[in-house]
């Protein structure tokens, strides 16, 4: 890598491979000293062609494909899709199934926010908070594993309902885990709001005012930290949210510290909701039948992922396979905000600001199947080695 030194410009590339990014994305920051004067983004390093692939699979198979768009918020993708397909087929999942979906959604939100807390702390060089929040995240991952059988792709949904039931034993385990997490979360709240060294990295950093967030159409906690009360769970309740309403958490600050506070407050809200769902779990069936062929129609399914509004557009054509599945993930909305307010900030703050929107590269990259004509699909180890030798000669 050579330095491009011109009188004004000094470009610092971050990514596609960079310790700050656990996923590949490419950013170029033009800096003067430590201050950023320009920013561009380039994605696509983890393209899997999922939108195209959906057109080649039947409705059920797509559920699992779409669940794998994101490793962190897998359940919410499956939920958005399942709700959409159910709307297309004009069936409704039974109330107990909806409640279980919502329960897993909230558990997943806890998992995602805890993970984010750790990552953001790590970006700020606060590894101790990172280690502790991830240690405690294990609690919720164990709960999800006990509930669904898997730690990441829970595969709780099926079209028309859910696979798993929550019995009393599990409910007790969840309550216990949640109470422990609540206690820990209170401690983290204290850390991120009072520790001076940490506040030094978050207070008044990357501030986005209400008007800016509104003009850039930010979604999710990023928007709510700037005071925009935008939450699909409250605006257009889906699944069991009509029966279990949530309080929208907002914060005025708009800076990184506010984003921490909003996410941690959302954790409290999730704890409350989980208790409520467990206490008032509706009884009844777990799923209904969804026809294999779905008549021609189109629908829009919006849900609130941990990172913000997740948008699904589904179009059926009367066959077993969808005509078009469009996924717009929250990260893509929030990229625009980062690229806009990065200018004028310090390079040292950039990793934290990037982490501040909780970006998910896998979510942003998924549209296109790549199968190059002059390139075999499977490279053996020897091929790779030869290619390496050729390339670096």
């Amino acid at each position: 890598m050579e330095a491009k030194v011109s009188p004004q410009k000094f470009i610092v590339p971050i990514g596609p491979q960079h310790p700050a990014l656990k996923e590949p994305g490419h950013f170029e920051f033009t800096v003067e000293g430590e201050v950023i004067t320009g920013a561009t983004v380039r994605l696509g390093y983890v393209h899997r062609g999922i939108e195209k692939s959906t057109e080649d699979r039947n409705w059920t198979q797509n559920l699992y494909l779409l669940e794998r768009i994101c490793g962190i918020c897998s359940h919410i993708h499956a939920t958005a899709y399942a709700l959409g397909v159910e709307a297309l087929a004009d069936v409704t999942a039974p109330p107990r199934a909806q409640a279980i979906r919502t329960l897993v959604c909230e558990l997943e939100r806890i998992h995602s926010h805890m993970l984010w807390l750790g990552v953001a702390a790590h970006e700020g060089g606060f590894d101790t908070l990172f280690m502790y929040s991830w240690r405690d995240r294990e609690t919720v991952m164990d709960l999800l594993e006990g509930l669904s059988g898997n730690r990441v792709n829970y595969s709780v949904n099926v079209l028309g309902g859910v696979k798993i039931d929550v019995d009393e034993k599990q409910a007790t385990a969840i309550r216990k885990g949640i109470d422990f997490l609540k206690e820990r979360t209170e401690h983290y709240m204290k850390v991120v709001t009072t520790d001076e060294t940490f506040l030094g990295r978050t207070r008044d950093v990357g501030t986005m005012t209400y008007d800016q967030a509104d003009a850039l159409a930010a979604v999710g906690p990023t928007a709510r930290a700037s005071g925009i009360a935008r939450d699909i769970r409250a605006d257009a309740p889906y699944a069991a949210y009509p029966q279990f309403p949530i309080n929208v958490i907002t914060e005025k600050g708009g800076d990184l510290a506010a984003r921490f506070i909003v996410r941690i407050n959302e954790l409290y809200e999730a704890y409350r909701l989980i208790h409520e769902i467990l206490d008032k779990m509706p009884t009844g069936e777990l799923n209904t039948r969804v026809p294999r062929r779905i008549p021609e129609n189109e629908t829009i399914s919006r849900v609130e992922a941990p990172r913000g509004e997740l948008f699904y557009y589904l179009k059926s054509n009367g066959s077993e396979k969808p005509e078009r599945v469009k996924v717009r993930t929250p990260s893509i909305c929030n990229w625009a905000t980062v690229m806009n307010f990065a200018i004028g900030l310090k390079l040292a703050d950039m990793p934290m600001i990037l982490a501040g929107i909780d970006p998910c590269f896998s979510c942003s990259d998924r549209m296109v199947i790549i199968n190059r004509s002059n390139q075999s699909q499977v490279w053996s180890w020897e091929d790779l080695r030869q290619y390496g030798i050729k390339h670096y000669r």
């Binding site: 257009a236 549209m367 296109v368």
Partner: protein
């Protein structure tokens, strides 16, 4: 603002720029807009502060040959761009349709700067040109993706299978 009220407002706002409206379900309003009317329609929405652009969905309608009995005439291939605006639970979708022969839509970036990512994506994947777009670099596809191949069009079914030979397994030349 409740849903019906919001949709009514949108309907009133967009009335003069549309060639047809319908409400597929309670929370949605579909508005057909000609490409040249897109920007004025958006300006009106923005001025009234109605919602935010949630996504741009592209849909490919491949050409349909005339049915052999001649009952259905041949249909030209077209691309449809759906601009979804959300306000609370209400969704207004501006549907802009352009033919394969002239896939050009005016860019809306000067009104909504954040639309650039969606436009770049639609441009790459569907081959719709957004006239006046500030940035048309590759966004999601590889840099060496061949021109004129738009993967989300129905006509794209993958590249030809590579030819396997024992000596050269098709390694790209460095």
């Amino acid at each position: 603002m409740d849903i019906t009220e919001a949709l009514q407002t949108a309907q009133d706002l967009l009335n003069q720029w549309t060639s047809g409206m319908n409400t597929p379900d309670l929370s949605r309003l579909d508005v057909l807009v000609a490409p040249k009317d897109l920007k004025p329609a958006l300006r009106i929405l923005q001025k009234a502060h109605w919602g935010y652009l949630s996504a741009i969905t592209g849909i490919d309608h491949p050409p349909v040959p005339a049915s052999p009995d001649g009952k259905q005439p041949a249909k030209e291939g077209s691309l449809e761009m759906l601009y979804h605006f959300c306000e609370g639970a209400a969704i207004t979708t501006l549907r802009v349709s352009v033919p394969y022969t002239l896939p050009v839509i005016p860019s809306i970036c000067e009104i909504l700067p954040y639309a650039t990512l969606y436009e770049r994506e639609a441009n790459e994947l569907f081959g719709v040109t957004f006239r006046g777009a500030p940035n048309t670099d590759h966004f999601v596809l590889p840099d060496d993706w061949p021109d004129g191949i738009y993967p989300l069009r129905k006509s794209f079914t993958g590249f030809d299978k590579p030819q396997q030979s024992p000596t050269d397994r098709g390694l790209p030349s460095p």
